[in-house]
């Protein structure tokens, strides 16, 4: 087995021609390791679904190559790639039963009947739908259809499974269940999953690695922790979780805010920079505390597990801290109160932009 199960080399996909051409994908290169749960994350229109469709073979790239297990599959049609897709709409065959849907690929491959039946039974057991084998698709709930779609795509044991926002049609509770279910299926089958989503929380909880995309380009590739704690640019920092951005000037030892305060940051970056810091990495302390930045409380928003404290610095810059709820729910702050803000050491990121 090659080191990478799937590799994209300088993939470009343009729609339209001449000056009206739109680059849905702009020179994307990516390596995905065998057995990985890999997520393509980005807002709608960022090119993540286009990239998935190129991997599946539904569309051909305008330039670049795709390697599957070391072999060039760029121009291979979908029915000759050992890659299967779970569609956003599920696209289950309405004229077939659950079992016939799951066995469809094997039947197309001309597998013997006994083998098809055995595999279908195993797949239905895997997604816990044994009792539904004879049902028609229209008799199933959304969550059950989702499981059938998974079983159908896993049945031929593809090298890579592509999932195109498969959970977006489910309600929150079912979605959480299916997230766990997907991880379990991936562990049990050992198949590489490439998962497309615009839901950053989904991406963070499920993935081994995430590729953040925007405007047809790859912004950052890394583990959930890397992406969350060390966003490479402002887009990634803003898209994944909530972030405070503060304009500053980099100097030796940290970033000097317009208010004159210094936020200590490792690594030196001179000139104009943006300080990115997560709301949960800010502590509120008495204003006179050493190293604290003076701020005024502007708004307090309670959300159960915590409270968002919106503040303004002396120069008017907005800043939000996320405070844990004490047992009473009261954090003992009042609007207009003067507070000191202390960033957790090492939590601030400098972005050059």
């Amino acid at each position: 087995m090659a080191k990478h199960i799937i590799s994209a080399r300088n993939l470009v996909k343009a729609f339209g021609t001449g000056e009206f051409a739109v680059r849905a994908l702009d020179t994307v290169s990516l390596d995905i390791r065998p057995g990985e749960f890999f997520t393509l994350l980005g807002p709608s229109g960022c090119g993540k679904t286009t990239l998935l469709r190129l991997f599946a073979g539904f569309e051909m790239p305008s330039a670049g190559t795709i390697l599957l297990d070391g072999e060039d599959v760029t121009v291979l049609p979908p029915n000759r790639r050992p890659i299967n897709t779970v569609f956003q709409s599920y696209a289950l065959f309405p004229h077939l039963t659950v079992a016939e849907n799951v066995g469809f690929a094997l039947k197309m491959q001309g597998k013997p009947r006994a083998e098809i039946e055995a595999t279908v039974a195993r797949m239905l057991a895997l997604v816990r739908l044994e009792a539904m084998a004879g049902r028609k698709i229209t008799q199933l709930s959304g969550g059950q259809q989702q499981r059938v779609a998974l079983a159908r795509a896993l049945a031929p044991h593809p090298k890579v499974l592509l999932l195109d926002e498969p959970l977006s049609a489910l309600d929150l509770k079912l979605r959480k269940e299916m997230q766990v279910e997907l991880k379990r299926l991936q562990n049990e089958t050992g198949i590489t999953f490439i998962f497309v989503t615009h839901d950053q929380e989904e991406a963070l909880t499920m993935s081994d690695r995430i590729a953040v995309m925007s405007a047809g380009k790859l912004q950052q590739v890394g583990t959930p922790k890397e992406i969350y704690t060390h966003p490479i640019n402002r887009f990634v920092a803003a898209f994944i979780g909530e972030t405070n951005f503060i304009e500053a000037v980099g100097e030796t030892g940290g970033a000097r805010l317009k208010t004159g305060d210094l936020i200590p940051v490792e690594g030196v970056l001179h000139g104009p920079v943006t300080v990115a810091i997560r709301p949960e990495q800010l502590r509120l302390v008495p204003p006179e505390t050493e190293g604290a930045i003076a701020a005024t409380v502007r708004d307090l928003v309670y959300f159960g597990t915590g409270t968002h404290c919106h503040m303004a610095l002396a120069d008017g810059t907005a800043l939000t801290a996320r405070l844990q709820s004490p047992a009473s729910g009261e954090i003992g702050l009042a609007l207009g109160e003067s507070v000191g803000v202390l960033p957790t050491p090492g939590a601030a990121q400098l972005l050059r932009e």
Binding site: F58, F87, F93, H95, K136, R152
Partner: protein, 302 residues
């Protein structure tokens, strides 16, 4: 249910019956009445100059399949009648098949156009209905006759050295009937294919189906109600076709419709004509029954 509700319901039911009665009377008088008359006539004795004599006879029904030898009065199979039946059924089946093979790609083409263009293409399909059937059939005759357009072109191009005899052949009948009934195949096929979720095509390709397998395993089964409806809409009127075989078959190649007309005209055998009409009706009913069962089968499945 309260008394007031019950009274209300009784009143609506009464009103509904009152409103539907005129239509029912027209239907009874115009559809079932003549049908009963035809059934009665089929059991009467033919008059000398057409019409019927009011005495019971099975002669009409007998003549549908057997005929009495003029000399020794023995009964044997009416070969000519059976030929006409066979021609009607086989030509109708072939017409249905040809319409399907020509109509399916057409319907697919229209169904895959952008929504704004579909109305235009459908309009083109229905365009022939704007002209009288008789005139259209004569037009086909003009094209395929020995001195017609097609033969002239083929001769000028040097593809043939003598005109092809196309009129008054079963081929001519087929061309005429496919031309006339093709829209009736295209429209229900379009209705079925327009609803077809084309994402299923990608799903099937993705699951290793070849193009043929996608067509045979996914598209055709899902479009089945449209295929059945179109086939019935073509097959049934083909069986009773009268104008097309009359003009393109030149009275030589009769179908059931022409044969029935003959009995009421020159043949002066109204009971036989009536019996033949009933036979035709039974064949049509059988075809419709198959249709209804096919549709129900689909519903049960879903």
């Amino acid at each position: 249910m309260s008394a007031a509700e019950e009274a209300e319901r009784a009143r609506t039911t009464r009103n509904a019956w009152a409103l539907v009665t005129p239509a029912l009377i027209v239907l009874m008088a115009a559809a079932i009445g003549p049908l009963v008359l035809v059934l009665i006539y089929s059991f009467l004795t033919p008059g000398d100059y057409g019409n019927v004599v009011w005495s019971f006879s099975l002669e009409g029904w007998q003549k549908v399949v057997v005929e009495r030898d003029i000399f020794d009065e023995t009964l044997h199979l009416a070969q000519a009648h059976l030929t006409i039946f066979w021609r009607s059924v086989s030509l109708s089946l072939v017409t249905t098949l040809l319409s399907f093979f020509a109509g399916f790609p057409t319907a697919w083409f229209i169904a895959t156009r952008p929504a704004s263009q579909r109305a235009f293409w459908l309009f083109l399909i229905t365009l022939p209905f704007w002209t009288n059937l008789l005139i259209r059939t004569f037009a086909i005759n003009q094209i395929i006759r020995n001195e017609g357009l097609l033969n002239t072109i083929l001769l000028k191009l040097g593809i043939i050295s003598a005109p092809l005899q196309m009129t008054y052949t079963e081929g001519a009948l087929l061309i005429g009937m496919v031309y006339v009934y093709l829209p009736l195949m295209v429209l229900p096929l379009y209705a079925a294919l327009e609803r077809f979720d084309r994402r299923l095509l990608e799903a099937a390709y993705d699951l290793y189906a070849s193009r043929w397998q996608v067509l045979l395993r996914v598209v055709l089964p899902i479009a089945r109600p449209g295929i059945v409806a179109g086939s019935i809409l073509v097959f049934v009127p083909c069986l009773g076709a009268y104008v097309t075989p009359r003009i393109l078959g030149g009275g030589k190649l009769m179908m059931i419709g022409n044969f029935i007309e003959l009995q009421f005209g020159q043949g002066r055998n109204w009971p036989l004509g009536a019996a033949l009409s009933i036979v035709l009706l039974v064949i049509v009913m059988a075809a419709l029954l198959i249709y209804v069962r096919a549709i129900n089968g689909e519903k049960r499945g879903v």
